[in-house]
Symmetry: C2
Subunit: 214 residues, 2 copies
């Protein structure tokens, strides 16, 4: 059993996979891909992931990319502790919460979109940061409403143990903080963030704990 | 057993769920939410989905949103025919392909981003269409490479029957065609599109087959 993770400390999608690996106690060799230096464009890395994105995970010689696919895979192959509840409706709720981040917040705000807006559309840093804050705030408003109004929410998004939903939420909150967004506006999400960083898995997975952190 | 789908003919995320329901032979009552008239902002619909997005699916009184979460749910509750393969590595491959569309193409190109670029950033229709084409082409280049170079690809993205990957790909191709993108550049994806429209499920699920089509 060997796991290799292609990662970058700033990548919030890689942060998700690092949390999942840590929660499951899976050791891994890390290969650092410096996105701001465009190392993801190298032929060597394109052979691992033709899309040129981190994270990519190699398990016993097989390459998987896309953080959601990687984490669902890890949960199927290493089921303890589970990252999804058992019953289909609860699983749907957890996946729905994860998808708000995975599909509706993060993709609009990542490095390549940022670069397009700066260089192709000639927008200023300030304008681009405003664009990013807009989607984060809109997404967090929806998430706060979904967790606040549901008795299934506990210390974490679904019950008292972390699930796929928290694995997606916490890195997005870290991105929000990097943009000086005040989490007080979303008290339930903020409480989940506090619960998460009481666990070693979230602490060791965070960007500043990585060997490639600057 | 009752299924209600909140849908809009133009929504490519709703198109995905319509395909999944059709493949599984599940009948459903449709409620049309006209996105361009902003019906998704109504209090009535916000009570169904606080995020204000279609699709939302009600099954036996329980509401689920986010197309990926809905389709995984349908596949767990109505497993025949399966939309995911059996072994974890193949499941990861199918989810990875679906996520390229779900996370890296579609979110950057939907109505609310389009509106932001037009109205907040003052971009022209032409510029915004160029922005959309850029992400579709980049994503399709990655997808084409992933399916072309893998012997697991068959008539569909994974084998000879449609999976989650095709359910996400086909609506994105429809969006590409609406932007006059020529699919000849991606011969494998183009072949999968042709295979899909030989099946009634894809034909009945497409935008122009819907009762709310204009």
């Amino acid at each position: 059993m060997s796991i290799t993770l292609y990662t970058y400390f700033r990548s919030s999608a890689a942060f998700r996979v690092r949390i999942a690996l840590a929660l499951k106690g899976l050791s891994h060799d890390d290969i650092y891909v410096h996105l701001r230096k465009n190392e993801q464009m190298s032929k060597e890395f394109r052979d691992v992931n033709p899309q040129g994105f981190v994270p990519a995970l190699i398990h016993n010689g097989h390459s998987i990319s896309q953080s959601l696919a990687i984490i669902e895979y890890l949960d199927e192959v290493f089921p303890d502790p589970p990252l999804l509840p058992v019953d289909p409706l609860s699983r749907a709720r957890v996946r729905q919460l994860a998808c708000v981040v995975a599909c509706d917040i993060h993709p609009i705000n990542n490095l390549r979109v940022r670069r397009f807006l700066l260089h192709e559309f000639g927008k200023s840093e300030n304008e681009v940061n405003g664009f990013m804050r807009h989607w984060i705030e809109e997404g967090f408003d929806a998430l706060e409403s979904l967790v606040r109004d549901d008795p299934q929410t506990g210390r974490f998004c679904h019950g008292d143990q972390p699930t796929l939903a928290d694995i997606f939420l916490i890195p997005q909150i870290a991105n929000a903080r990097a943009l000086d967004i005040d989490m007080e506006r979303w008290p339930v999400l903020h409480g989940i963030e506090e619960a998460a960083y009481e666990m070693a898995a979230f602490v060791t997975a965070q960007p500043k704990s990585q060997a490639d952190a600057e």
